[in-house]
């Protein structure tokens, strides 16, 4: 066995009140794609920050090619050959690709040479990217390529990637994986952080699984089932959501030719959106973030008003109604942003229960708040949705993301909606809580509610939706039955790879559709 590139032994890092990493040890071999797998809060980010020199471990040690390695800052880590692509990009939108790359370099070469090198690297690794384009015009996938190329120009020995596929369409994921395979073939090791199990099974040679800061197991992903990995990750047997097939009822929500200019100048305009949802049906709406999801939710919840007859519920036009009139009619919504939109961070759960529960739970009389009623409604949500919190007096911000999400979804589900619109119902939620939330949505549909689930998690949408559509730049694709859709078809509905070569495919698809 050859010497590993990086050997980590006994790394421990504690923050006040929480041990982020507890005695973690593993090794990354030369030219190996190593997965770091774990739920939110399992300690993946802290671990890679220690490798990248952003965080100092409390104890433990690292060996880099056999010699001691303790980077004091990212600069030293980069000098040793560690490069990292962060989940959130740090790019200047007003500058072009080459300028952005130059800003991240210690000693940038002249612009012309740099542009040439960017072209070389992008061709070598199959990452189509024009160094002269302005970053502001690039899609999320292309921006990620800028970050990757910025790293590759340093000739790294270890490339760390933090949740790289969360912003990509399936086609863009394909391109990324080809690149990573080429890098591996060229001898670069990759530390790949994700919680998407199928990706890891496809790409990675080896996986280390973290739970609550501890290394709870290692496996060869290709030889381990996704379910086994998930259970290692969660530490529990996983309940797969189930639903009994029901015949869909009458059309409840009817959206016809809805166009909307957002109040926010950076928002996305909705363009001629048309769909309907029947009683007992779940419509899944996919799409990469920022393609009109927030705006669609605002239009459906009543935060944004729309012209007469563009929105109908059971035949009644509701476009001019505000959120509370819609709640009276049983149209409820759960926005994506938990803190600040779905819930007020500094207010208690009781107050947050009142926030949307006032009308349907009858929590006011003559405008006076029935606090006892609000408290018991909050307690009901906490109980029914297993929200882990000392009680309803706790401020919303004190809850973990998953628990607050259970509260936010539970608050709407318990109000017996006739139409429920949720945006990213399981974003940042651990697997067990996500399964519980999905199950509750399916149960709600089984009771006859019409449900719209907006999400960027395609696996989730395929699991729970009856029909599927995708948002792309404020337009909605055709709605198709979810059963039997291939990942390629879904990707095309989402707008393909936003790249040059795939534009071709898109055109073909458009021609195919018109033929």
């Amino acid at each position: 066995m050859t010497k590993p590139l990086l050997a980590i032994s006994g790394l421990t890092k504690a923050y006040p009140g929480v041990v982020a990493n507890d005695d973690v040890s593993f090794e990354i071999g030369e030219a190996e794609v190593h997965a770091l797998l774990g739920e939110n809060g399992a300690g993946k980010s802290t671990l890679v920050k220690m490798i990248y020199g952003l965080v100092k471990p409390d104890s433990g040690s690292m060996l880099w090619q056999g010699s001691a390695f303790a980077p004091s800052d990212p600069k030293t880590a980069r000098a040793s050959g560690v490069a990292m692509v962060f989940q959130h990009f740090s790019l200047f939108e007003a500058l072009n690709v080459a300028e952005n790359v130059a800003l991240g370099m210690e000693n940038p070469p002249p612009m012309r040479d740099l542009a040439r090198r960017i072209r070389e690297v992008s061709e070598t690794y199959g990452l189509p990217l024009d160094p002269d384009r302005t970053v502001g015009d690039l899609s999320a996938g292309e921006r990620q390529r800028v970050e990757i190329i910025r790293c590759l120009l340093q000739d790294p020995k270890l490339l760390i990637m933090d949740e790289p596929t969360s912003v990509l369409t399936p086609q863009e994921v394909e391109i990324l994986f080809e690149t990573l395979n080429k890098l591996k073939a060229a001898g670069t090791s990759i530390l790949y952080i994700s919680h998407k199990l199928e990706e890891i099974r496809k790409l990675c040679d080896h996986a280390t699984i973290l739970r609550l800061g501890k290394n709870v197991g290692e496996c060869v992903p290709a030889e381990t089932s996704a379910r086994d990995m998930a259970e290692l990750m969660v530490g529990d047997t996983l309940q797969t959501p189930t639903r009994s097939a029901e015949k869909a009822g009458e059309v409840v929500l009817d959206v016809a030719d809805l166009s909307l200019t957002p109040s926010n100048p950076f928002g996305t305009s909705l363009k001629n959106i048309t769909f309907d949802v029947r009683a007992g049906e779940i419509l899944g709406l996919g799409g990469v973030a920022g393609n009109g999801q927030d705006e669609l939710l605002a239009a459906l919840s009543g935060e944004a008003r729309t012209p007469e007859n563009t929105l109908k519920v059971n035949g009644q036009s509701i476009g001019k109604f505000g959120p509370n009139r819609r709640r009276e009619l049983g149209i409820l919504a759960a926005p994506e942003e938990r803190l600040g939109h779905a819930a007020a961070p500094d207010m208690s759960l009781t107050e947050n229960a009142l926030l949307t529960g006032r009308i349907r739970e009858n929590l006011t009389s003559n405008g006076f708040v029935k606090w006892a009623g609000a408290t018991s409604f909050a307690e009901n949500i906490i109980k029914a949705f297993d929200v882990r919190t000392p009680g309803p007096h706790v401020a919303a911000r004190a809850l973990s993301g998953g628990n607050l999400q259970k509260f936010v979804i539970g608050r709407e589900v318990l109000q017996r909606p006739t139409v429920l619109i949720v945006n990213q119902p399981t974003w940042g939620v651990d697997a067990a809580a996500a399964a519980a939330i999905r199950q509750s949505l399916m149960d709600l549909a089984a009771e006859g509610a019409a449900i719209v689930v907006i999400s960027q998690d395609l696996d989730e949408l395929m699991e729970i939706s009856d029909r599927f559509g995708a948002l792309n730049e404020g337009r909605l694709s055709d709605i198709r039955a979810a059963a039997g859709l291939t990942i390629d078809e879904i990707g095309l509905m989402m707008g393909g790879a936003h790249g040059m070569e795939v534009a071709q495919v898109q055109d073909d698809a458009a021609q195919g559709a018109s033929a």
Partner: protein, 359 residues
């Protein structure tokens, strides 16, 4: 490098005691200031904070406390509603002047009629006057998106000039031998706000306590108060909860304007007695300090207003007995707000001193 870092879990109890700490620091810093002015700091602080309540002439000063505190409470209660919702009415002083003018004008119009209906009518007129002055920034904000801070503040100067014009023109006392200023309305039972002048009791005090109770119920029992707090803490969540921001702006600026207007009337028809140039003494601005010092809580506002009233009275006393300049007491009040805001910042943020490093 020094940087402010947000505290992950700000203390919930600290905001309750910061006003007290701010007062103590103000006393220390104020004492130092007086020492630099060549006065004995201990004596100066005692004269301001102790003598008016417990000193030799306390029997005279104690009733004054409520007389000074009442307008501060009335105005601060109105401001606190807006401040909680993130609507910043800085021009209460202007609304206070306008209420005084309209209210006094109604009283003067009836001169020399005597009737118990005149005074209630004056109160209504004052409320409408203050409300209307508050509606100007409110309307401009909802219609054109102007900044209510600037508009309401600038309208204070308009109101001050209007006051001068009234004192010299329309409302000038015809029997005043040409001196600027209106007739004295405090001496006429039909138009006076005094209930018992010797005891320092006027209708403003009664209305101030009604306003406190009203605000308490509104904020903690009524959905409107919930919506006000929600709008201040999470505007997007408020919109999601169905709060109409336009209506909220009109309500908050309207109520604070009306309360400030009423405070103006009780002052002009009582302690001040007449419309005259410079009749306003900055209650509208001091009330901003009172609102924050009282943590925007109705009961806190009562306590803060009493404290500020004390600094007014004690300040005058110190001017007389120690020869402190009148500006010193304004500096003193300003320091109080400064220290309070600084402490508030430090409860939510901590100062981190970072080693200088190249990035």
């Amino acid at each position: 490098m020094i940087r402010l870092e947000k505290r992950p879990m700000p203390s919930r109890t600290l905001p309750m005691i910061t006003p007290v700490i701010a007062v103590i620091i103000t006393m220390i810093a104020g004492g130092a200031l007086f020492a630099v002015l060549g006065k004995d700091p201990i004596e100066a602080i005692r004269t301001i904070f102790w003598d008016p309540v417990f000193g030799e002439f306390a029997f005279y000063y104690r009733p004054q406390l409520l007389v000074k505190a009442a307008p501060l409470i009335l105005i601060a209660i109105g401001l606190s509603l807006g401040f909680r919702a993130g609507i910043w009415n800085i021009g209460a002083e202007g609304q206070y002047i306008m209420g005084a003018i309209t209210g006094a004008a109604v009283g003067l119009a009836f001169y020399p009629t005597e009737s118990i209906f005149i005074f209630p009518l004056m109160v209504v007129a004052a409320a409408i006057g203050g409300w209307a002055w508050g509606m100007i920034p409110a309307f401009l904000k909802v219609r054109f998106g102007t900044n209510e801070i600037l508009v309401s503040l600038m309208l204070v100067y308009v109101a001050q000039n209007l006051l001068s014009s009234m004192a010299l023109g329309l409302l000038k006392n015809p029997e005043g031998m040409g001196f600027p200023g209106s007739r004295n309305i405090a001496t006429n039972a039909s138009t006076s706000s005094w209930i018992n002048e010797a005891a320092g009791l006027h209708w403003g005090i009664v209305f101030a306590f009604i306003a406190v109770i009203f605000a308490y119920i509104l904020l903690y029992r009524h959905i409107l108060g919930f919506n006000i707090q929600l709008s201040g803490e999470a505007p997007r969540a408020a919109r999601f909860a169905g709060v109409n921001p336009t209506r909220l702006i009109l309500f908050c600026l309207g109520v604070s304007g009306a309360l400030a207007g009423m405070a103006g009337l009780f002052e002009v028809a009582g302690p001040a007695g007449q419309i005259k140039i410079g009749f306003n003494v900055g209650y509208g601005f001091t009330a901003i300090i009172v609102a924050f010092l009282g943590r925007l809580h109705p009961v806190g506002i009562v306590l803060a207003a009493m404290l500020m009233a004390l600094t007014y009275i004690g300040g005058e006393l110190a001017q007389g007995t120690l020869g402190l300049p009148s500006a010193a007491i304004q500096v003193f009040q300003g320091m109080l707000l400064f220290f309070l805001l600084a402490l508030d910042l430090l409860t939510n943020y901590r100062i981190a001193i970072l080693p200088r490093r190249a990035f």
